[in-house]
């Protein structure tokens, strides 16, 4: 039973990491322009945009 003491926090932490990553990507605008991303991948330009 002692292993529960660290296994449960580990499980929650990993889940929380996933949740955090999703919320971050949402806030970062990763889902804002799904159609545009499909086109941008075809662009040849090398210089990054500001």
């Amino acid at each position: 039973m002692n292993m529960l003491i660290y296994l449960i926090p580990v499980a929650l932490l990993l889940g929380g990491l996933g949740l955090g990553a999703f919320l971050w990507s949402l806030r970062n605008g990763q889902y804002d322009d799904l159609d545009g991303a499909a086109w941008r991948v075809l662009e040849d330009e090398d210089q990054p945009r500001g």
Binding site: L4, L12, G16, L23, L26, L42, R49
Partner: protein, 766 residues
Amino acid sequence: MSCCAPGTEGSLDMAGATLALPSAEELMLASRDLGDGLYQLDLSVPGVHCGTCISAVEQALMALSPVSKARVNLSTRRVSIVWQVPQDETAMDPVDLVRAIKRATGYDAHLLSAAEEAGDVMKAQLIRGVAVTGFAAANIMLLSVSVWSGAEASTRDLFHWISAMIAAPALVYGGRFFYRSAYAALKRGHTNMDVPIALAITLSYAVSLWETLHHGEHAWFDATVSLLFFLLIGRTLDHIMRDRARSAITGLARISPRGAMVVAADGSREYRPVEEVMPGDHIAIAAGDRVPVDGLVIEGESDLDLSIVSGESAPVAVGPGAAVQAGTVSLTGSLLLQATATARQSFLSEIIALMEAAEGGRAQYRRIADRAAQIYSPAVHLLAFLTFLGWGLFGGDWKQAMLIAIAVLIITCPCALGLAVPVVQVVAAGRLFQNGVMVKDGSAMERLAEIDTVVFDKTGTLTLGRPQLIDTVGTPTNIAMAAAMASRSRHPLSQAIYNAFAGPVPILGTVTELAGEGLSCDRPEGRYRLGSRAFACSGTVSTSDGGSEVVLSLDGLEIARFLAEDRPRPDAEAAIATLQQGGFETQVLSGDRRPVVAAMAARLGIDAFEAELSPGGKTQAIAALQGDGRRVLMVGDGINDAPALSAAHVSMAPATAADIGRQAADFVFMHDTLEAVPMAIRISAKAGRLIRENFALAIGYNIIAVPIAIAGYATPLIAAIAMSTSSLIVVANSLRLNHAARQAKVSLPEPDRRRPAALTAKVSPA
């Protein structure tokens, strides 16, 4: 619109009627101050639709030195620009940003209104809510599974405590949408679907907490949170659908003018926002401009395009002394107007007032889910209460009675119902999108499934709203001459002649346009005149009946003749035949002249029609039909249709409609074909049937599960299994629409290139 290839600007200018650019002040006002002199401006560019557009717009903007960042969002068709405002204001005018976009691609850029931003915030909140409750539901479920598989008492208590701690924030964060809505409904003395939801999640949490405190065996944390998770998915889908349609509709070009060129007494000119134009001000209108406020013509002559106002397809000539209405377009000449009303009192605003008055009928419509909730929630509450009393009185154990009553509440919570309706409607809306029809919200589909009468406007709805040549008489040289002259005019008949002609045209010197009459041009061989017969061959009277005749003359002698007519949309006849076969009654309500309307109605096989109607008249005609117990679908496009669109049970407008018409309509169709109307009705009817099926499934599930709960056998495990399976069954049933609709898909002609790409975008299954 031929993509964003360079060199097409000229033709776009020609076709796209000059829209007033937003003024520098407006743009500055709409910009956000990011500090350090940096400003961010979001513009809507409805035209962008491919990768080339993205790079063209971004490169054009980045080429301007003050711009530090420019990014196009293809999904929302917006461009976000960050630029440095220089110390001296003269160096950079924000209008240059808009001009750069226009120059690079030929697309117009528009300001976004504040209302459009609000939707995005709500959507982000909902998605975050789904993520948080999803996380909580998954973790609590994991813990619950170990409890169900027989954990020791101490471990069980520990797991219950952890669950309680995970559930509490999720309940507040994800549940606030339901609490807020339930509170709003209760305050108004109603009850909606959110009331039993809010009650069930709160009570089940409270009881579980109480159980945990007393080392009880059954905690319902998993049921509470997964219930919330499922319902939030439904709520989010509903919201995304509405949001997408709204952004696509408002993203299309706005039609009402934003400002007016005011001429002061000393002759100086100033461009002012339309709200600041006062009666008595003098306003200059150039050819191609839309009239901003009602007024009287002081100077100048022109042909006015009234189609959007009265539905009349033929332009009307005006001269000094004539009254003009806001919203009309001056086609051929410049005018000087004296404003007789402010923007608030102008024709457009009267229409808005009429629309607001007409809204009544639609506002009374209650959505299927709400109507179901009206019966469902009292029944559920009563059932739970009776269970409580029954177990308390006969069992004697009030604590156990309480637990069982709560189990009843959880089992009956309308999880499947809350998911059933939005999933069907999102799938249906996705189907409609793919066929070029946008729907504003789910209730529109419910209402469309109920209609029995379809009423059409004529100009712009049954017809394309622009004349096309049906007959040409003359030698090729003379026709080329006519096309060359016609290319100089914005008059719809000239445009028709020019567009119908393919090949080289002679180069002309000065072409003079006489408003209301036609064009004339002096050449070595004589004076060419193109226009009405009376103008071209002075003294003779028109011999044509129906349609519009244009004659080219050389020194008064007829050398070519063109007959143009406003053509019905492709498939209009077939679409109306389909509707009539489907048992729908069809009618035409038009503001145009009676003979023209009668001819069009006869041609399309519609028996009932009314002509020469004012906007109010159309509304009354719709109200009269609805007074007879009919449920009316109104299909219309003009400003004059807007009140009727609002008054009808449900309404539809083509994408070419006036801004206000699109706003008023529940559905907007993007293709030229009228097949969209029967197709939308078919898909809506199918969606309505699926929703009823889902209700039946949900009720069937309750018939099995509720007795178990009342008998006191509903453990948290049974509740979890029952709830998830019923939700899955309902979702699976809803997805059948995808399959059914694919089979029934109408065969559309060659995809219209003007159709924005977003309309083909799939609705993500979130």
